[in-house]
């Protein structure tokens, strides 16, 4: 780890001002940043510790039914907040399926939004990586890439976004509230992470020095509370990143689907919202055929970036399954194995 200046601002304006200096980075819990710094992928000259900024550790319910979550709220505190978990169960389940209890206790909401890819070539300093070193190439493209992107990738980068939390957030139209030297603005989480295109180093829509101060989930998203799930396929039962994951939410009305929300994780450089698949379900009967069709549509544009064609088929199946689970209804309590296919809850039928 390189030596750096450690700066601990007392207010958001101070933080934003401090971060305006090139070479600065924000430090919250550090569960991702310190990992990157130890590996040498990140070598900031100035570390702006925002953990003491006042007012960013609150969960605030607004009069219109939406919720504002401060950027410094810890993952576990949000997931175990009763009202939040009841209102946005897929978000809580996604949070609890990510990392480990220790990491969730430390990691912050804002930090989670800023999580970097797990692509091994991004982390391996000896490899070419356009995301880490613009213009150097992409060694993942012809490398060990069975877990890489199948949607939205480019010849310049085939990395995936690792967050679980962001997947249901994107499905529910959550918005990041941002402060910068040029004032405050809102960025939909769906627009926060950007696809690689020709400039994979541009990972987010944030301007240099902009700070996420909170996250808002709109009131409309509460309509999905009764039929929302997050499902995540992993290579071990717990404490593993997703091979593929899906957030699925349905708003049911008289036995038919009024609205559907679908987003996929582990398939692209950002959480992947499947809007056309959602549209195919709006007003439809909730049948296995309708779910299968939605899954087809969701993956229609998918193509392998390497040895990962199986992820496309897997994603189709997991979309259909997640929709089935959502239709069966949000479990009374977060399952013992959150988001696992083995998180059976009484009455759920996994033989779909």
């Amino acid at each position: 780890m390189n030596r750096f200046d450690y700066i601990r601002p007392a207010s958001v304006p101070e933080a934003v001002e401090a971060a305006a200096v090139p070479g600065s980075t924000y430090l919250a819990a550090g569960t991702n940043l310190l990992d990157l710094m130890k590996g040498g992928t990140a070598r900031p000259e100035r570390v702006i510790d925002i953990t003491r900024l006042p007012g960013l550790d609150r969960i605030e319910w607004l009069p219109d039914g939406s919720v504002r979550v401060g950027a410094l709220v810890r993952n576990s505190d949000l997931a175990y907040d009763d009202r939040f978990a009841r209102t946005f169960p897929a978000v809580a389940e996604a949070l609890l399926s990510g990392a480990s209890a220790q990491l969730r206790n430390a990691a912050t909401i804002g930090g989670n939004l800023m999580q970097r890819t797990r692509c091994a070539y991004f982390h391996d300093l000896a490899s070419a990586c356009n995301r880490r070193a613009p213009g150097s190439g992409c060694d993942a493209r012809e490398g060990e890439n069975r877990l890489h992107a199948v949607l939205g990738w480019s010849e310049h980068c085939i990395a995936t976004h690792p967050s679980d939390f962001c997947v249901p957030l994107v499905a529910l139209d959550a918005v990041a509230e941002v402060e910068g030297t040029r004032g405050a603005r809102e960025i939909p989480v769906d627009a926060l992470h950007v696809l690689p295109g020709a400039a994979p180093e541009q990972e987010t829509a944030l301007a240099p020095g902009e700070l996420i101060v909170s996250l808002k989930i709109p009131a409309e998203a509460t309509a999905f509370a009764h039929n929302a799930r997050y499902l995540k396929l992993r290579e071990r039962t717990s404490f593993a990143f997703a091979v593929v994951s899906v957030a699925a939410a349905l708003e049911m009305e008289a036995g038919a689907i009024r609205k559907a929300r679908i987003a996929l994780g582990g398939v692209a450089a950002k959480p992947w919202r499947a809007r056309e698949a959602e549209a195919s379900l709006a007003g439809a009967e909730a049948t296995p055929e309708a779910f299968a069709k939605a899954a087809e549509i969701a993956l229609a544009e998918a193509r392998p970036s390497g040895d990962n064609a199986f992820k496309i088929e897997l994603a189709r199946r997991i979309v259909a399954r997640a929709l089935t689970l959502a239709l069966e209804g949000t479990p009374e309590a977060i399952p013992a194995l959150p988001a696992s296919p083995f998180s059976t809850t009484p009455g759920a039928n996994h033989a779909a």
């Binding site: 780890m1 030596r3 750096f4 200046d5 450690y6 700066i7 601990r8 601002p9 007392a10 101070e14 401090a18 430090l27 819990a29 550090g30 569960t31 310190l34 990992d35 130890k38 590996g39 570390v47 510790d49 953990t51 576990s76 175990y80 990392a99 480990s100 209890a101 220790q102 990491l103 206790n105 430390a106 039962t237 717990s238 404490f239 013992a336 194995l337 959150p338």
Partner: protein, 169 residues
């Protein structure tokens, strides 16, 4: 507002308040405990938040001390494995780990125990072994003592609940 070379922080470690002059902002809580304060009960297994061997309680919550900058924790209360027993009286989690053979080589054990203490105080597992297994999955045990660990957590949790009932009565 900027801190450069010498950084002074205050930590309460196992009940003892300590003023610590840090000559280097890079020091993690784990390396501070082990290499500078010589509290070596907390172990380094991966140094990257992937194994849980370095688990300690910070303000009562279990975290990976390898991924926490010491400077950032200024003012925090830290509990490590050294602070768990009451003199020679083992904490119920420690005793249960021995009784259920919840370890072999012992290297992940301080982290497992601190994680179990954190898990019990979080109170989200109930007496469901499946929830305990899930919530202990951030602590890797290469020797494979998981069955004993799960049994130990269940027993210690019961034991602690009974103590609390007794104390309340």
């Amino acid at each position: 507002m900027g801190y450069h070379m010498s950084l002074s922080i205050s930590l309460t470690i196992n009940g003892l308040k300590r003023e610590i002059a840090l000559d280097d902002p890079r020091v993690t809580l784990l390396d501070l405990l082990r290499e500078r304060l010589h509290l070596t009960g907390t172990k380094k297994g991966c140094d990257r938040g992937q194994c849980g061997a370095c688990t300690v309680l910070v303000d009562g919550r279990r975290i990976n001390s390898c991924l926490a900058l010491a400077a950032s924790l200024d003012g925090a209360e830290i509990t490590t494995i050294e602070g768990l027993a009451d003199g020679e009286d083992l904490h119920p989690v420690q005793a249960a780990f021995i009784a259920h053979d919840g370890f072999q080589c012992g290297y992940c054990t301080p982290g497992q125990i601190m994680s179990a203490v954190g898990l019990i105080s979080e109170g989200n597992a109930g007496d469901d072994p499946e929830r305990i297994r899930e919530l202990m999955s951030g602590n890797i045990c290469r020797c494979g003592a998981y069955q004993g660990i799960t049994e130990a957590v269940l027993e210690a949790q019961k034991d602690l609940a009974e103590r609390n009932r007794r104390d309340a009565a």
